[in-house]
Symmetry: C2
Subunit: 124 residues, 2 copies
């Protein structure tokens, strides 16, 4: 269905795809908003901050898959790219993503778990 995204052969390629990050931004905001709505018991929309995504990315120890001199903005992009890539390839459904995000706990911790799950489920 989503032939516009190439089937990548390495994690690094996914993390460096800026276009994928752009779509990922929209996906992550929606998924996170849904999870928050379920938690709060009322509909809500949220924009996930780049700082939070970058923190989660570092906690998931994904930093090593990117070139050494990379800023926080690029780490947030990489996180968004990975999360939407797992969904697009059918490796992680929206429901699976929601289940993870609904967990209680530190926001960056929960997001890093989402990243680790996405990484594990995507086969390279």
């Amino acid at each position: 269905m989503f032939t516009f995204v190439p089937q990548y052969e390495s994690l690094n390629e996914v993390l460096m795809d800026q276009k994928l990050a752009s779509l990922g931004d929209a996906y992550v905001n929606f998924l996170y908003s849904l999870a928050l709505s379920k938690k709060k018991g009322e509909a809500t929309g949220i924009k996930v901050k780049g700082r939070l995504l970058a923190d989660a990315f570092k906690r998931a120890e994904l930093r090593k898959f990117l070139p050494s001199r990379i800023d926080r903005h690029k780490m947030a992009d990489a996180a968004e790219a990975l999360i939407v890539y797992a969904w697009i390839r059918g490796s992680m459904t929206m429901e699976e993503g929601l289940e993870i995000l609904e967990q209680n706990g530190d926001e960056a911790e929960v997001l890093s778990l989402l990243l680790l799950t996405a990484k594990k489920k995507v086969e390279f």
Copy 2:
């Protein structure tokens, strides 16, 4: 699954739900970004402008379901609320929404078709 949204008995209630509009904003941006990605053949993320949503809302002749003195911003909110409500209630899948948005033609026209389809599919 999404018990945080009440089952409304009238279209007006859906259109006036500001919280639903907030979640709808995230959903519409994601759905529109997906459709655009498929059209362009490459991943892309976009924020759908309020002006465009309000135009589509008027074209779909939904204006009459809102109180008379309402600004463009509220019309855009109403459009977002209706679109996500149809998805949340299981009346219109993401695939169905995508199929409509992928059509060629004037952006406001295509979005108004999405609104009309959502309205028709949601049963009150």
